[in-house]
């Protein structure tokens, strides 16, 4: 009989604990809900800004601006997200990809969400294009930024081809179909065509900066000669609003969004253990290819703004 009594006492103790834990859990849930209404999303823009899906594996995708745009959409659709901090650590990239993300940022702001940029080591060129589309820009005093401009890289390997005995014949549908071909000298007419295109993209870049930073276009043109600036210089020139790190940017975003108390952070694109195990990784062949290509162009140091990929338009 005493055995039954002991077990009944244990049973009641367990039952009461279950009920107690239930009440405790509900309290925590309510607290969590209250915190979640003050959410700030953090979206990372790392490395060269290139359009597309980036690397993909069977289970997931990463890299490429399609992922960034997807994250912007998620932040836009999430009612609990009041503000977004765009953490940029990028030397730039393709004009079209930068423009695509920039337009999405404008749409995000149009939905009433505050968007604040935090610049890391480098936020130049295409990276600055994105920053100019946000409400407020924070940079470290030593951040490399600016580099507002466009260039189209072109290599002429004609002499090299002659030395190794390569002669390429082409049957073209039009005179400019093989424009920028590395095996022949560019004609003056072609140079003019490319220059007009570069100028057109440059003008679009200037418009974005002038509109985003509320500066006069002529003033932007004076700053936009392609040079890079430190965060400190950029603040003096009006290209950056405040000097500070990512947490200063979070505080700034919190103030702009009118969040009372400590905001809850929601990081997009953060590497989870699942990502680390099953996520896509660069193939050895791709790494070798990139290494040799960068070595050939003497551009192994990614700390400088913008790498040149000959097949892409570069914003600089």
């Amino acid at each position: 009989m005493y055995k039954k009594s002991v077990m009944l006492v244990i049973g009641i103790l367990v039952l009461l604990s279950l009920i107690g834990l239930g009440f405790h859990g509900l309290g925590a849930k309510e607290k969590g809900k209250a915190n979640q209404s003050n959410m700030i999303a953090i979206i990372y823009v790392d490395g060269v800004i290139i359009g597309g899906r980036g690397q993909s594996s069977v289970l997931m995708e990463q890299g490429g601006t399609d992922q960034i745009i997807k994250q912007i959409h998620q932040a836009r659709d999430d009612e609990s997200v009041k503000a977004v901090v765009l953490r940029i650590n990028s030397p730039g990239g393709s004009a079209a990809a930068s423009q695509e993300v920039g337009e999405e940022l404008k749409k995000l702001r149009g939905k009433g969400k505050v968007v604040v940029t935090s610049m890391a080591d480098v936020a130049a060129s295409g990276g600055y294009w994105l920053a100019a589309c946000t409400d407020k820009i924070y940079a470290n005093p030593t951040t490399m930024t600016g580099s507002i401009g466009v260039y189209m890289p072109y290599a002429n390997w004609e002499e090299l081809y002659k030395k190794v005995g390569i002669y390429q014949e082409k049957i073209k549908s039009g005179p400019h179909k093989d424009i920028l071909s590395p095996e022949r000298q560019m004609t003056n007419e072609e140079r003019e065509i490319i220059q007009i295109m570069v100028d057109d993209i440059y003008n679009q870049f200037v418009d974005v900066v002038a509109e985003g930073r509320k500066l006069d276009k002529e003033q932007v043109r004076k700053l936009a000669d392609g040079r890079i600036y430190t965060g400190n210089q950029a603040k003096q020139l009006g290209l950056v609003d405040e000097l500070g790190n990512m947490y200063d940017a979070i505080d700034g975003a919190s103030q702009l969004a009118g969040i009372v108390g400590k905001p809850t952070l929601k990081e997009f694109g953060k590497q989870s253990p699942w990502n680390m195990i099953f996520g896509p990784s660069e193939k050895i062949s791709t790494l070798v290819e990139n290494f040799l290509f960068q070595k050939a162009q003497n551009q192994l140091n990614l700390g400088i703004p913008l790498e040149a990929l000959p097949e892409k338009w570069q914003v600089k």
Binding site: M7, L8, L13, V14, L21, G22, G32
Partner: protein, 193 residues
């Protein structure tokens, strides 16, 4: 040993006698009830623990995984351990081991009162008490599994521990061999950089 309350009392406080009788009677329905109670009650604590940790999105995954893996481990664990025990000269039955293992998980129900107790403590002590409680309960369940193995197959403690540890040892050896082969294959690949 009468109703289930008395059986459970004996499992907690007189495990040797309890396991002998449970293995002898082979009451599968009682074992299934006790096993599911032992599985589901701690899940209540896990549910709220994950919610408090801000992992709401993963709750269903964790709970589903815990239920499926718990059942799987009970069935497959019984089969594997029974085979190893027979190789080592054990004379018990698979069903006897299955039933006793079902009861051996019972101490896990104490995780809930212990966690509730921990939530009342200061933050600095909370995680330590929770970790110690989890370890104690794990150790208690492990002790009951060893007792079950001893009583079902009439083994010594060393032999019972050997049976329980054999699948893990085999897994470690297989992984070691696999890594050795993978390692040798990798060293033969050309160095590209």
């Amino acid at each position: 040993m009468g109703n289930i309350f008395e059986v459970l009392y004996d499992v907690l406080f007189q495990p040797k006698i309890a396991m002998q009788i449970i293995a002898d009677k082979k009451n599968v329905s009682q074992a299934v009830v006790v096993f599911f109670l032992s599985l589901l009650i701690p899940l209540w604590a896990l549910y709220f623990g994950l919610q408090e940790a801000g992992m709401s999105a993963m709750i269903h995954f964790f709970i589903g995984f815990k239920i499926v893996s718990g059942m799987f481990m009970w069935f497959i664990g019984t089969a594997v351990w029974h085979l190893i025990a027979e190789f080592l000269g054990g004379r018990g039955t698979g069903l006897g081991l299955f039933v006793t293992l079902g009861f051996a998980h019972f101490p896990q129900v104490f995780i809930v009162p212990l966690w509730v107790f921990a939530t009342l403590l200061p933050v600095s002590l909370k995680s330590i008490v929770m970790a110690v409680a989890a370890l104690v309960i794990l150790g208690w369940s492990f002790f009951l599994i060893i007792t079950a193995m001893k009583e079902v197959y009439q083994f010594s403690t060393v032999k019972a521990v050997l049976v329980i540890a054999t699948p893990l040892l085999v897994a470690i050896i297989v992984c070691g061999i696999a890594f050795a082969f993978i390692g040798s294959a990798l060293t033969q690949m050309p160095m590209l950089l």
